[in-house]
């Protein structure tokens, strides 16, 4: 008997027990649709985060202190280092910007809110790819003159001033228990970010920041943005790190570490992958439960159709014919369940994506996964009942009522 014959027989059997078949499929539909949804949404999140992070600058690499090492004040990354790198590597480096951040609060006449204060050089607007919507960015006079000028993001401007103009207003900024008055000179546009990635931020001259918070030239890290013509920025950054080590007289001691957007994407992907796998594994349990349902209904079916098996055997059906018939029936139930599950998975993915404000489509991976899973479930849970049917003694089976 050919597989096609077996398929027609199984369709007939499934169709004549519609309700029972649908209930059996339900377990698989739930299982497959959840796995498909989770994997697809996981993939979509991954893509979204990758896009988001590469917009942070794939040409940039951060240099930080290694937290496992004790850093003497003379070894700390500093404004001096920044200027040194800028000068020494002017052929390959576009900008070197300091990474100094302080958490604080900002108070306008009526509103107060939390924000992140960041140090800025002349080039920070370009290094961070900021677009001005109002006023101007910080200039060399702000920096050389230790001016108490800040540039805030558009969301923060709206919180503080609503639709009225923010530029020119004076605000009180409190950080490290010190409060000073600043003037807003510009507003930049918030980037489209994933939910939860956006925060209020204000840039001030690094000189002002150094003075206000008594940092004595020390900075948390450096962001090095390379010229796009540099072939391998991961190699180039090592020269820079070595140069800083030499400059700070700690060559080869490994006090500094580098971190690129690429590294970040990798680590985020790794975490996300683990999470997706974990949640999928939980959803996978429902697939196993669905499979047990298939096995159960196949066992019932074999018992119910013992006489049919006897008749088929009397007419010349061999072990393999009966085996094939019941196995194909189990696989057909699973595949139909898998297909319906995939359709639901696609729908859930679509709405889940909308909810998470992402462009999520059912991935080929997840569809492939669904097909492989449903066939394997049918095969795995169908073998025992099919074997039981195929092994029946024809005389016994014929006598069965």
């Amino acid at each position: 008997m050919s597989i096609i014959e077996a398929f027609f027989i199984s369709i007939q059997a499934i169709w004549s027990n519609k309700l029972r078949s649908i209930l059996t499929m339900l377990g698989l539909i739930i299982g497959i649709s959840s796995v498909v949804t989770i994997v697809s949404l996981g993939n979509a999140t991954q893509t979204a985060i990758e896009e988001e992070l590469s917009s942070l600058g794939i040409n940039s690499i951060y240099i930080y202190h290694d937290r496992q090492e004790t850093i003497k004040p003379s070894e700390s990354l500093s404004i001096d280092d920044m200027k040194y790198v800028e000068k020494t590597f002017e052929d390959t480096v576009l900008y070197v910007t300091p990474n100094i951040e302080e958490y604080g609060t900002i108070l306008s006449d009526i509103e107060e809110t939390g924000l992140m204060l960041s140090a800025s050089t002349l080039n920070t607007d370009e290094a961070e790819d900021l677009t001005l919507v109002e006023g101007r960015f910080l200039n060399e006079f702000d920096i050389s003159g230790y001016k108490r000028h800040i540039v805030i993001d558009s969301d923060l401007a709206e919180i503080l001033y609503g639709s009225t103009t923010a530029v020119g207003n004076k605000v009180l900024v409190t950080a490290r228990k010190a409060t000073s008055a600043y003037q807003i000179v510009g507003v930049y546009e918030n980037k489209e970010t994933l939910e939860g990635f956006s925060e209020s931020r204000a840039y001030m001259p690094y000189t002002t920041m150094d003075m206000m918070f008594k940092l004595q030239g020390q900075i948390g890290g450096l962001k090095v943005t390379f010229d796009p013509s540099v072939e391998d920025i991961n190699v180039e950054i090592q020269y820079i790190v070595t140069a800083i080590e030499r400059y700070n007289r700690n060559i080869g001691e490994g006090k500094y570490v580098t971190f690129s957007a690429e590294d970040f994407i990798e680590s985020v992907n790794e975490t996300l992958g683990m999470l997706t796998l974990f949640v999928s594994a939980i959803a996978g349990i429902s697939l196993v439960v669905g499979g047990i349902g298939v096995m159960n209904i196949m066992l019932v079916s074999v018992t119910e159709r013992t006489k049919e098996i006897g008749i088929r055997k009397a007419l010349g059906a061999q072990y393999t014919d009966i085996m094939l018939q019941f196995l194909i029936e189990a696989i057909t139930i699973s595949i139909i369940g898998g297909m319906i599950g995939s359709i639901f998975g696609g729908i859930f993915t679509h709405f889940g994506g909308k909810l998470m404000k992402m462009n999520a489509v059912m991935s080929m991976n997840s569809l492939l996964l669904a097909v492989v899973f449903s066939v394997s479930i049918g095969l795995f849970f169908g073998i025992y009942p099919a074997n039981k049917a195929a092994k029946l003694d024809p005389i016994e089976a014929l006598r069965h009522e």
Binding site: K307, I311, Q318, Y319
Partner: protein
């Protein structure tokens, strides 16, 4: 041709063993019309199962068309049932969810006959038994006599050497019984070997050779010349 030598069938082992057939010798030639008569427990159904290759003897030999069946695997037995034997059962044994046509096609599916040919031959067989207009009906939509005729069509369709009928008229009224026996007569006249197991003497009377069984033994072998 079918040859049985010293055929013995024992069910169970040791003290609880039951001897259903004890040393049957029998030869049935091609084209014979044979009935096997006997009360229940006489061993006639056991013989029927062995002749139909649904079962194998404990001892002795069964040679069908010059091939011994004693050493065949269950797979080979299935092939023999498929190609050489056509069964007709007392309770028809049709699959209730399939139409008459699909029921008749069944044994051809296992013989690997292509779809188109299967349909053609099934219609041919149903026409032969007088059910050309009932091809699309399910067993529940047919009378007892019609069901048995579908079963006969199914038995014929692979062109077997023997037709084995186990109480074929046991569930039928007089008129239908008459129809079915007429059909068997016709098939025999066309050269088919037919073996009918029955306990009804009226049925046995239509055959040319009557084998009587009692307690696992063949007690008489009567050839009637009509």
């Amino acid at each position: 041709m079918l040859v049985v030598k010293n055929l013995t069938k024992v069910y169970g082992t040791g003290d609880i063993s039951v001897r259903a057939l004890s040393g049957i010798d029998l030869t049935i030639n091609e084209g014979e019309y044979v009935s096997i008569i006997g009360p229940s427990g006489s061993g006639k159904s056991t013989l029927m199962n062995i002749l139909g290759c649904l079962d194998q003897a404990t001892e002795g030999e069964y040679i069908l068309d010059n091939h011994s069946t004693q050493t065949l695997s269950s797979r080979e037995l299935a092939v023999v049932r498929n190609k050489k034997i056509g069964f007709v059962f007392q309770s028809y044994h049709l699959l209730p969810k399939l139409t008459a046509l699909r029921n008749v096609e069944l044994s051809m599916i296992y013989a690997g006959v292509p779809r188109e040919e299967r349909k053609r031959r099934a219609i041919e067989a149903l026409t032969k038994v007088g059910l050309a207009d009932r091809v699309g009906h399910r067993p529940t939509e047919l009378s007892g006599g019609q069901k048995q005729r579908v079963a006969i069509a199914r038995a014929l369709v692979n062109n077997p050497s023997i037709i084995l009928a186990d109480e074929p008229t046991g569930n039928l009224d007089t008129e239908s019984t008459h129809e079915i026996l007429k059909l068997f007569n016709q098939l025999n006249a066309e050269g088919k070997t037919i073996i009918i197991v029955t306990h009804e003497h009226d049925v046995a009377e239509v055959t040319n050779r009557r084998l009587t069984f009692r307690d696992g033994l063949m007690v008489s072998d009567q050839v009637v010349i009509k």
